[in-house]
């Protein structure tokens, strides 16, 4: 019995060391807590390839222009204005005079030119450079004085404002490391935060790996509100690093974080608990990316020794593809996989891309009878009960894959497989781990049908590698030496034309036409787009989320009590 008493005493002792410290009051300290899913890979803006790093330093650095997420148009950033001249081949930026780096040095045109030099350096592989090449040539930039940057293009290039949206580096801090060839290992995540010299609204104060990143307000930030008071209004920010989404959900409920992006199944429970938790659950908008079934039409995979695999004929037959498009039960996917919180996707460009989305496309609509009729008419008839064959009588069988670990995609593939089964088409479904899938898509080309998603961008030319027949992400038949079909040639042509006109509203028609062509030719079938939600504390003011980011995040503050 004595031993038992000791054990009880030990447990009691362990429990006794609970700390009763006052609840961390986010409102009193004006510090916003939110969560991110993984550790950043780097604090160096040029070397970023992952979204966590972009979040980690997003508020510390700025670019010449910024996008208004409500209008999707460009607004002044570090450049207070800009103008095109010389037949749209010259772009002149006038920089702000009142911007200081956090070490007190002024921001000048030298910083812009230095950043461009780093991005174009072949020894520094980065994700910015491809958007800054015009027909394979770099953009020439010069600085007639400290506060003017002149960009010269070999031809009019409409995406230039988007291309110039890179975060500016402090030349006086990083030039030394760059000249010494040490840039690729500069400003890694082991850098003490006070050595990260930024000019954004917030400056990093502390990074605890796998725990959190903390920031304080930049008291020298250039932006002011309408009354001329300094911005940002928050005194600090903390990003907690929480890899598991269930844990994020619980931590939001327990008050550890102030903002949470719920999954579809969490929206309703949060709305029910909104009063008790004192939170607002708001609709943000429609997903900006696209999620689609792509079909392999790559002759390198299907044609061997002059003999083409039958699947090549099916997937390049527009009647076959139209029948399949009518067999995608989008409403079923919305109800089952997204709890009703999604909309059917018609175009590859999200409706949230207000200028470039083509609103005139008509959805194919789920109709298995119509699908069967189209197949019958095109010669794909039932060869025995439950099995449909192609015009040569070969049974219709193909493989379907997607990446593992995303339950929604599993369910969508199951729905698609079941509906095709009703049409007499056999689908063998096997998900693959992401990297294996990528290798199949861009190296071995050994796949038939894949459910895959791309993230969306406002600038339509950013999808160039996907839309152009020569592109590496032209999933269904990548890196073609010359366009395989007339419609692919036409898309290439429209992509060229679209970059020649600077006015976004005049540009839009080229991209609308591309969306129409893809919708008619169906190299891929669009599925659905999630409607995203956000939940945040009622004490937060001026919190305006949009799918393209927060609208005026500098105005956010906690209501004084």
């Amino acid at each position: 019995m004595a031993a038992f008493a000791i054990a009880v005493a030990a447990v009691a002792a362990i429990c006794g060391c609970r700390v009763n410290r006052p609840r961390n009051d986010h409102a009193a300290t004006q510090t916003l807590y939110d969560s991110m899913v993984s550790d950043p890979g780097t604090f160096n803006p040029v070397l970023i390839t992952d979204s966590a790093s972009a979040v980690a330093i997003g508020d510390m650095f700025e670019s010449l222009t910024r996008v208004n997420p409500r209008t999707t148009l460009f607004e002044p950033g570090l450049a207070r204005s800009w103008e095109f001249s010389d037949g749209d081949q010259t772009l002149t930026f006038h920089l702000r005079h009142d911007v200081k780096w956090s070490d007190g040095a002024p921001f000048t045109a030298r910083d812009v030119l230095f950043t461009m030099r780093v991005i174009y350096d072949p020894k520094i592989p980065n994700s910015m450079v491809s958007a800054m090449m015009i027909d394979g040539k770099p953009i020439a930039a010069s600085a007639p004085d400290d506060y003017t940057v002149v960009v010269r293009m070999p031809r009019p290039f409409a995406p230039i404002l988007s291309s110039m949206q890179f975060a500016i580096l402090p030349a006086h801090v990083l030039a030394g490391a760059y000249e010494a060839g040490r840039f690729n290992r500069t400003w890694g995540i082991d850098t003490p935060p006070d050595r990260l010299i930024g000019l954004g609204a917030f400056l990093m104060t502390r990074y605890v790996p796998a725990q959190l990143i903390a920031y304080r307000r930049n008291s020298d930030y250039w932006m002011r509100d309408e009354q001329g008071a300094p911005l940002p209004r928050l005194k600090g920010e903390v990003h907690l690093i929480v890899p598991d989404q269930n844990a994020q959900y619980l931590q939001f409920q327990s008050g550890m974080t102030d903002v949470y992006h719920p999954r579809p199944e969490e929206v309703w429970p949060l709305e029910q608990a909104a009063k008790r938790l004192n939170i607002t659950v708001a609709k943000v908008g429609i997903d900006t990316g696209s999620l689609f079934f792509a079909f392999n039409r790559n002759p390198r995979h299907y044609v061997h020794d002059g003999v083409a695999d039958p699947r090549y004929q099916w997937f390049t037959d527009v009647n076959f593809m139209r029948a399949l498009a009518h067999a995608v039960d989008k409403q079923g996917m919305i109800d089952l996989c997204y709890r009703g919180l999604a909309v059917p996707a018609v175009s590859d460009v999200s409706p949230e891309n207000k200028i470039y989305h083509n609103p005139n496309l008509k959805d194919y609509g789920y109709n298995l009878e119509l699908a069967a009729q189209i197949l019958d008419r095109a010669g794909y008839r039932m060869i025995r009960p439950g099995v449909r064959g192609d015009p040569e009588g070969r049974p219709l069988v193909f493989r379907l894959t997607t990446n593992t670990g995303v339950p929604v995609r599993d369910q969508m593939c199951a729905i698609f497989k079941q509906d095709l089964q009703k049409l007499g088409i056999t689908v063998n479904y096997r998900p693959l781990d992401f990297i294996t899938l990528v290798k199949a898509l861009d190296l071995s080309f050994d796949w038939d049908c894949v459910l895959i998603g791309f993230t969306g961008a406002i600038e339509p030319n950013d999808a160039s590698d996907f839309l152009r027949s020569s592109g590496n992400l032209h999933i269904w038949d990548p890196a073609q030496p010359k366009p395989a079909t007339p419609w692919e040639a036409q898309i290439d042509h429209l992509m060229d034309e679209g970059t020649m006109v600077v006015d976004p509203y005049k540009r839009a028609r080229y991209y609308w036409q591309i969306q129409q062509i893809l919708h008619d030719q169906l190299p891929m079938i669009e599925t659905v787009r999630a409607v995203t939600y956000v939940a945040y504390r009622n004490s937060l003011e001026n919190y305006y989320p949009t799918v393209w980011g927060l609208y005026h995040p500098e105005w956010i503050e906690f209501r004084a009590r």
Binding site: A7, R21, S254
Partner: protein, 326 residues
């Protein structure tokens, strides 16, 4: 004893090389490398991917890459992570601390609970207390730790008595030393309980059967016949001998706990080695994977060595000569 130590440490070297080579080869045999993570990013051109491959040396043959890695280890360098571009030790260090802290505290908790309970139920064999605790122990053994972790985290949220996940509070840096220790302990209680509970159940069963077996041994009967009080018989003769298998188990148990900790770490969001290793494998971040594997291997080997040495200290029948003969 020194000879024994030297021999054991020497054996560790080829063992470590073998384990790491197999892991290294396995990492290279699965399709795709780190750069493939970026292949579907429209902003990154194939030329940039090629440049990155060359920069990280991923285009070189397996043996050369392994030899380079080994050369680094010989110079106490774990290499540079591909995903984070910093020394691997910088990533692993704080997480090893979290994982070892969790494993050790749950082990301590397990033993503190299992041994006394095991003794009690053995002494009162077939009483209601014995039956009840046996039933609870089977229940404990059959509930997986990750499920318990979900329950625990829900309990923390519902009761508000414990923090919901994490290994420390956001204001940790501002605390003084004692508050820091208290803060750490506060965050450790639930995960250590969750991880230890299944262990309590099985260890308690083991303890019970050990004592029941030894209770009837000849030397115990002798001790009783000498007229020793029952408490001395129990604590000095029975308990000490019953503990021997536990000492051996401790070495392996540590390795088990490190493995089991990965699931609990993931559910309760404790930043440990498990989750880091899983993500590194998914991303094909070879130096990071190898660093974690090396760390795990060393922990396991050292744990076993310590267990053997402890056994020699505890069990008079075992000494370093017999251990060497094994």
């Amino acid at each position: 004893m020194l000879r024994f130590l030297a021999r054991r440490i020497l054996i560790m070297i080829p063992l470590t090389i073998g384990i790491t080579f197999i892991s290294f080869a396995a990492m290279s045999l699965i399709p795709g490398n780190f750069v493939a993570n970026l292949a579907l990013d429209p902003r990154i051109s194939p030329q940039v991917l090629k440049q990155m491959e060359a920069e990280f040396g991923l285009d070189q043959p397996l043996m050369l890459r392994y030899a380079r890695w080994l050369w680094g280890i010989a110079h106490l360098r774990l290499g540079v992570s591909l995903a984070y571009r910093v020394d691997v030790i910088h990533l692993i260090g704080p997480r090893v601390l979290n994982t070892v802290l969790l494993a050790l505290s749950s082990m301590a908790l397990t033993w503190l609970l299992a041994i006394p309970i095991g003794v009690i139920v053995a002494v009162r064999q077939n009483s209601i207390l014995d039956r009840t605790l046996s039933f609870l122990s089977f229940l404990g053994m059959s509930v997986p730790a990750f499920f318990l972790a979900f329950l625990a985290i829900d309990f923390a949220l519902w009761s508000g008595w414990f923090p919901v996940g994490q290994t420390m509070s956001p204001d940790y840096a501002a605390l003084d030393l004692w508050s820091r220790i208290a803060d750490r302990a506060d965050h450790l209680i639930l995960p250590a309980l969750v991880l230890g509970l299944a262990g309590v159940a099985s260890l308690m069963r083991l303890m019970r059967s050990q004592i029941l077996e030894i209770k009837n041994a000849d030397y115990v009967r002798t001790a009783r016949a000498k007229g020793l009080p029952e408490s001395i018989v129990l604590y000095k003769h029975v308990l000490r001998n019953a503990l021997n298998p536990f000492v051996t188990m401790a070495g392996y148990g540590l390795a088990d706990l490190l493995g089991g900790a990965a699931l609990v770490e993931s559910v309760m969001n404790l930043q440990g080695l498990g989750l880091l290793l899983l993500n590194a494998v998914m991303k094909r971040d070879v130096p990071l994977v190898m660093g974690s594997v090396l760390m795990g291997t060393v922990l396991l080997l050292v744990g076993n060595l310590l267990a053997d040495m402890a056994l020699a200290a505890v069990d008079p029948r075992v000494n370093f000569t017999t251990l060497e003969a094994q």
